[in-house]
Symmetry: C2
Subunit: 374 residues, 2 copies
Amino acid sequence: MSTQATRTYTDLNPSPRLLLGPGPSMVHPRVLRAMATPPVGHLDPDFLVIMNEIQELLRMVFETTNQLTIPISGTGSAGMEAALCNFIEPGDPILICVNGYFGERMVDMAGRYGAKVHRIDAEWGDVFSASQVEEALRSSKAKIVAIVHAETSTGALQPLEEIAEVAHKHGALLLVDAVTSLGGLPVAVDRVGIDICYSGSQKCLSCPPGLAPITVSPRAEEALRARRSPVANWYLDLTMVQKYWGAERSYHHTAPINMNYALREALRLVAEEGLEARFERHRRNARMLWEGLEELGLTLHVPESRRLPTLTTVRVPDGVDEAAVRRRLLEEYNIEIAGGLGALKGKIWRIGLMGHSSRPENVLTLLGALKWIL
Amino acid sequence: MSTQATRTYTDLNPSPRLLLGPGPSMVHPRVLRAMATPPVGHLDPDFLVIMNEIQELLRMVFETTNQLTIPISGTGSAGMEAALCNFIEPGDPILICVNGYFGERMVDMAGRYGAKVHRIDAEWGDVFSASQVEEALRSSKAKIVAIVHAETSTGALQPLEEIAEVAHKHGALLLVDAVTSLGGLPVAVDRVGIDICYSGSQKCLSCPPGLAPITVSPRAEEALRARRSPVANWYLDLTMVQKYWGAERSYHHTAPINMNYALREALRLVAEEGLEARFERHRRNARMLWEGLEELGLTLHVPESRRLPTLTTVRVPDGVDEAAVRRRLLEEYNIEIAGGLGALKGKIWRIGLMGHSSRPENVLTLLGALKWIL
């Protein structure tokens, strides 16, 4: 085999897309610039300061005082796996609430770590009540209750306060997927009483994909310390990762330096805007989108009472080729939206207005293009 | 807790370091610019083309025709874990050759996946002979022989050809850590007969940390298909990841888009330089470093016959405070080198000349600074 490339490769030149799918979202130019800063080493005193700042900023956006608040060195699914594998030992009972694709994924992952999985199901687009969770916990005890805050596959927003109370009453830790909510609507880890919460960098934080913020309550940290067996996943083992992010600064794996530069800048933008203003912006632009879609005669999949402001699901009208519409949006207008996953494949479109993508001009562009196509 | 940040954060401004440690290495400006390109979606037709190009370029640098050749979405240690967890089922026997920190890490990881680990040990700085490996395989059969090509903790270069023959003769797959060799010296996967080989983006490929190239031979793919149990790690499960990188293009996890932009550009630079020219540059600059260090009266830890051109280990002279020297290099000259790990902690310095860091002007700067300090 030749050691020379067999052909030449052009300059990188991807199309200038308007990202209105379920992530990644648009990235602010300041974040792209920060990411392109020449890297320093992962144990450089300058990087240790940056790590501290990232932890402070993540606590601000999670609304928590949890010491163990860090970005996992992988995309959102690595955050999900870190949230599960660190707190599951073989045979541990876990209750997983499944009302979409990502609840299913938690079932798959938890099984691989030997958990005794008890699942409850709701329709894709519905949410769970605290009494459903309590009934499940009465019928079989659980160490962890796992639930998705913002189901990216359905567009449903899961209320958490009462479920947190129920979980704690029954001695369980509450584990929450906030991939499509963190930075776009209140997650409020400490106020709600979430014990383990993870997200992804590329949704409402508007950083490129590659990091997964996670926060762990003191109670969950205690459960981590009480493990009898090592964590069955080396890369995501928080007992070791926290020694790098904590006072010891001992080497575990090489942190993705430039991704952390980007995350710091993305979080700095969140801090400058302020969480409340940011949440209000997401709500305002979502309402504008919903009204526009309904004016086009389209039906929204989730009732307004439990509809996510960050990700809207729209039913595909009868007789419309959903993939063809997406293809035309992409090819003719450079706009990305997504189709359905799993049970909703072919039945809905998914439109994200997350972080830097949540802007009124983007809503107008999409509505205009949809009107033209439909 | 307030939703406003409690303080302001300055513009990102890390020190302009000369990275001459064991990684990350310096990143070419073209790679930083490519990384700062606005992202497209992970299923965008434009991104699918980029994925294909990355796979072609990775095959070029691994010198392989292996279909399953992709970047794992994590740093080098995630590559190591992917290489192990996909080919280990509980009870599988594995022979691990340990002559440094990263061999030890493989033992830790393999144990977590339930492997029956048989380890053989050599001094840190030594390498293994094929007859040592064969003796171990005669005393107990193994499904996998795992070995480190370029031990980042010791600076030793492990010859692989004869060990590959021995492993195959005994029906084992050869698994090789090429973290500190890929792109800096010949790895030649197909010629040598390596079945599973992984690396990191941030060493001789001079891309920021965050991706771990891996390649899997048809024989190892067959072993993957023959598994009786699911891979015990969801994020790194190649049976699913390969469906995203292969013809199906089915969603698994959101790829780190901008990291892949960076890797493509870093690999394009490798292709433009040519592998042979790149290897020769690494050898030439290493020899310049070695001569200069010996002129300063320093002793190199590894004999020249098995010394890595990409990472040089130097013994700390008696009476010299090794950490103080590193601190002065960093604070006074903005130069990063590293100390020893594990058994060599406090006893050696580690100097990397990898990828874009391997330049004669960098060698001169370091030698000048060392002369001034010592």
